[in-house]
């Protein structure tokens, strides 16, 4: 499986994503600079976390208009796989590749902690190594992760199984206390209808070794290998 990691100015999880992909896939990912006008042929493009362009405008809005984004769009339209983690998720919604928007956290504060996620749909490119309803632990770290969509969209993505990860408590229950940012329906990660594009606020790339505090993020990358190899 060939992958590439995008760097926007002030991306800051690009190295972490690059390392995780290299460690788990065994292959060195390509690096894409936001001004590149050509992207080598790859199976997966990763838009990493960070504060692209400082997030001084709406998070991800500037990045979504970078020169390299045209190639990402073309790749996605061809059915190529794209993941956006944290700021990357925000970029994907700004590009219109994923429905909804990510608003400021309900607390109006940045939140960094390990959360529990329920794998709502284990039948996707990104979740096949987990089992349905598995409760996994993954860290979040964001200021704008409060997922919002209109009712019609919410109904549609729920009915289509596009809601892949949901914030839950340790016992697996969807609750207000388990929701770190105020997301509607406790949504933590979604795919597009076709299933080739995924955005999620939590950071699986931070939880791939025991010493980091957990390894539940590995399943995410292992799923991708299973699906794309």
């Amino acid at each position: 499986m060939k992958s590439a990691v995008m760097t926007f100015p002030a991306s800051n999880c690009d190295r972490d994503m690059y390392d995780a992909l290299e460690k788990i896939t065994g292959k060195v990912p390509h690096k894409i600079w936001h001004q590149d006008t050509e992207i080598p042929p790859v199976d997966l493009i990763a838009l990493p976390g960070g504060f692209s362009f400082g997030d001084y405008l709406r998070c991800g809005a500037m990045a979504a208009r970078s020169p390299a984004i045209k190639q990402v769009l073309a790749h996605a339209q061809r059915g190529g796989n794209v993941i956006g983690i944290c700021n990357g998720f925000q970029v994907l919604t700004e590009m219109g590749l994923l429905p909804g928007a990510l608003m400021r956290n309900r607390s109006l504060k940045f939140v960094c902690k390990t959360v529990n996620l329920k794998v709502e749909n284990a039948n996707t490119t990104y979740t096949s190594a987990y089992h349905e309803n598995q409760n996994i632990e993954i860290p979040v770290a964001h200021h704008d992760g409060n997922y919002f969509a209109d009712d019609e969209t919410l109904t549609r993505i729920e009915d289509n199984g596009q809601v892949v990860f949901r914030y839950v408590d340790k016992g697996g229950e969807v609750s207000k206390d388990a929701n770190p940012n105020g997301s509607q329906h406790n949504i933590a990660g979604i795919t597009n209808e076709r299933g080739n594009i995924l955005g999620m606020m939590p950071h699986p790339e931070r939880f791939i070794e025991d010493i980091q505090g957990g390894t539940d993020g590995r399943g995410f990358f292992e799923s991708i290998i299973n699906s794309l190899n």
Binding site: N12, D16, F51, C112, A141, I211, Q212
Partner: protein, 740 residues
């Protein structure tokens, strides 16, 4: 060249000199160095270079006495940050710095730019920043400004550090009324570099180009260094315009661009523009290299129109660096900065005359010999009187509480001992994916990327001890970082000190400073734990009331094998709990006395540094050998608080039986005797540890086991761990939501 050509044609009257904070003798010295009266720009340059903040004029006499060398020290104080050797051609570069006055006036921007400034001190030497820490002191929770300041400072630290992508991995936060009018915001950055790629600031090579990179220069922060060198008064609010505004996005670009530049061989010298901006960077680079700088101020990228030379030289606009390049490499270097969308301008060249010569619109507006400006900066031996240490409180003179269990709940739910999760959850503490011990433990631990090594970092100071007895308090601050680093299994290597005190012109305050330095010196020598960088912040007073003396210490230690690291949470049911060190029930200056009795009295616990070393080395050896599965040092609140913190971290109960017959149980349990640890081990290994302790002359006592869901201390209390967790977690969120 005549004086009338010089900028603004401002006549330098004694009043203007006084407004610039220069004393009569400093004024005379300035005229002697110049051989004439200064221009306004020159007066501004002298005033900031000789401000307390930049010149250390009250402190340097004493700072010189601190131990600064060890075989592993590569660069001690004097550079932008300290540099130590961690093997494999790798170096760790670190420093802590204060941003107190700006943070009081404008908490978000003050704290944010404090983080930005310390990051630049570290990456300007060629290091990639890998961890941020902080040490924060606020006024009483009851003070009307405390919520606003705490909220703004924490958001500012997070807002900057999170964006630049450097994890904020730990720190400490205290509340005390002595900080009501003068909070302390001390920020520390730790970076990693290759030993053969360390960059210094001394310029060289007459004719080499001087390059300005980063953000444009604006009018923000003019006289920031001077503000940091004066007491606060009622009208300090009016100084809001002297607080700089941070742009972490530009800082992130600057880090990447500078590290890229420094990976080539183009750079001769590089320096960030920190306090006193273009002035201090150019003077330090020139005087450090024994050369001059000829700068054309028309070439300085400017944010606003009509800026004068005076404003440009004194601006403290953030995210700017000064670089001396090798000749003929300008275009190559420019390509890097253009790619990162940063300003890049050749603003002058190295001159052979040793002068800082500034031209502007065709005129020479300043011409100062840099060596005398830097070297002849004033140095004062300020009068001081020794702080009289209070008498030691007899444990038998402190009444016992009605209910020890209620006391424990009250203590862990107090402002100073409650959970700081509300704070550190606003910091990205995991970006870079190398954080292996998060906030909440004894020391933060980050891996050295791509290796098995790890760095342990801790910031500590107990200001109430320092106030009662600056000497013992100074020793204790150093010893506590050493102990915290030891508790995770790392070997403490060196410290940075951030010395926050009141007005040095008052002999009692100067006495606190001298006492604390004596304590630091003794602890650093005995623990072989030198000072490699630091910062002094004086005049931390409002309307004549000084803060508690606060020599905040940031320690760094190394683990060769990060897999051996331990945390404070015991592992398994049945594990044995052992107390290391001697407990005498020292209750003076304790959290117990303050929280339960409302008294801040007595002598602080004495620090026996040889005992610290013996006990610490014993604990570390057993962690590295894998015999210990959890360890927590005993500090604020004594044994009871340490046990409660371990139980909360593990979500497991303990059955404890103390071996104490002679000391009142509340002073035994809450006493703050030093050089102590609580360790947990498996039943299989306990005998080996105890046998080795006997052989090494280390006092250990087997005090209990991990069991059940309650913290049970025989004859004292039994409290469900969940109840402890609720009490511990609730204070700060409740307080900040205005319900406390």
């Amino acid at each position: 060249m005549t004086e009338t050509n010089w900028n603004n044609n401002v006549e330098i009257t004694p009043e203007i000199v006084k407004e610039h904070g220069l004393s009569d003798s400093e004024h005379k010295l300035m005229i002697k160095i110049l051989g004439r009266n200064p221009s306004l720009t020159e007066l501004g340059i002298f005033s900031v270079m000789w401000s307390e903040h930049c010149s250390y004029k009250s402190s340097k006499l004493h700072l010189k006495t601190l131990p600064t060398t060890a075989p592993w020290v590569i660069h001690g104080p004097g550079e932008n940050a300290g540099v130590i050797d961690i093997g494999d051609n790798q170096a760790v570069i670190f420093k802590m710095e204060s941003h107190n006055h700006p943070s009081y006036i404008e908490p978000y921007q003050g704290a944010a730019t404090g983080v930005g400034g310390i990051l630049r001190d570290v990456f300007t030497m060629g290091a990639r920043p890998i961890a941020n820490m902080n040490a924060l002191r606020f006024g009483s929770p009851d003070h009307h400004k405390t919520r606003h300041l705490l909220s703004g400072v924490v958001e500012g630290i997070g807002g900057y550090g999170n964006c630049v992508g450097v994890p904020t991995v730990g720190g400490e936060t205290n509340f005390h009324p002595s900080y009501d009018g003068n909070i302390l915001v001390n920020a520390m950055t730790v970076g990693l570099a290759d030993q053969d790629k360390i960059f210094l600031s001394a310029a060289a090579g007459v004719g080499n180009p001087v390059i300005y990179v980063g953000s444009k220069t604006g009018r923000d922060g003019i006289h920031g260094a001077t503000m940091a060198s004066a007491e606060f008064t009622e009208d300090s609010e009016e100084k809001r315009p002297t607080v700089q505004v941070g742009d972490p996005f530009t800082e992130k670009l600057l880090i990447e661009a500078c590290l890229e530049l420094m990976s080539t061989d183009m750079v001769v010298a590089i320096q960030d523009m920190g306090a006193a901006g273009l002035t201090s960077s150019s003077v330090e680079m020139a005087s450090g290299g024994g050369v001059g700088f000829a700068l054309n101020l028309d070439m300085v990228p400017q944010r606003e129109e009509g800026m004068t030379p005076y404003e440009m030289m004194l601006s403290e606009s953030q995210e700017r660096m000064l670089v001396v390049l090798k000749p003929d490499r300008v275009e190559e270097a420019k390509e890097i900065f253009v790619r990162w969308d940063l300003d890049f301008a050749v603003i002058g060249e190295i001159a052979g005359d040793g002068n800082l010569t500034l031209s502007w619109k065709g005129d020479i507006v300043a011409d100062i010999p840099t060596q005398p400006l830097a070297d002849n900066s004033p140095e004062y031996d300020r009068p001081w009187i020794k702080t009289q240490a209070p008498a030691t409180i007899d444990p038998n003179d402190v009444a016992s509480p009605n209910d020890l269990g209620e006391t424990l709940i009250k203590m862990i739910a107090s402002a100073n001992l409650s959970s700081r999760a509300w704070i550190w959850q606003q910091y990205d503490n995991q970006v870079m994916a190398d954080t292996i011990q998060m906030p909440g433990g004894d020391a933060a631990v980050v891996r050295v990327h791509g290796t098995d090594k790890a760095l342990a970092i801790s910031t500590d100071c107990t200001p109430r001890y320092c106030y009662a007895d600056p000497f013992e308090g100074g020793k204790q601050a150093v010893a506590e970082t050493w102990r915290n680093i030891t508790s995770v299994g790392a070997t403490p290597l060196a410290i940075t000190d951030c010395l926050n005190f009141g007005n040095p012109e008052r002999p009692d305050i100067m006495g606190q400073f001298v006492g604390a330095i004596d304590g630091l010196r003794e602890a650093c020598s005995i623990l072989e734990y030198p000072v490699v960088s630091g910062n002094v912040s004086l005049y931390n007073e409002t309307n004549g009331t000084g803060i508690h003396p606060t020599p905040a210490i940031g320690g760094v230690g190394l683990m060769e094998d990060s897999s051996k690291m331990v945390k404070i949470a015991p592992k398994d049911e049945g594990d044995v709990i052992i107390l290391v060190g001697e407990s005498k029930g020292h209750i003076g200056c304790s959290q117990y006395l303050s929280i339960i009795e409302g008294r801040e009295e007595g002598a602080p616990p004495p620090i026996d540094l040889m005992l610290e070393k013996k006990n610490g080395n014993f604990v570390r050896k057993h962690i590295i050998n894998g015999n210990i599965n959890a360890c927590h040092d005993i500090s604020d609140g004594g044994i009871f608080i340490a046990l409660a913190e371990m139980a909360m971290a593990s979500h497991k109960g303990m059955d404890i039986s103390l071996n104490n017959n002679s000391i009142p149980v509340h002073t035994y349990g809450y006493g703050e005797d030093q050089a102590r640890y609580i360790i947990s081990t498996t039943a299989l290994e306990v005998d080996q540890i105890i046998a080795d302790a006997e052989q090494s002359g280390v006092k250990v006592e087997r005090i209990g086991v991990v069991r059940g869901e309650e913290l049970m201390i025989e004859d004292c209390f039994s409290i469900p761990v969940n109840e402890l967790l609720d009490a511990h977690a609730s204070w700060m969120p409740n307080y900040m939501s205005n319900e406390a």
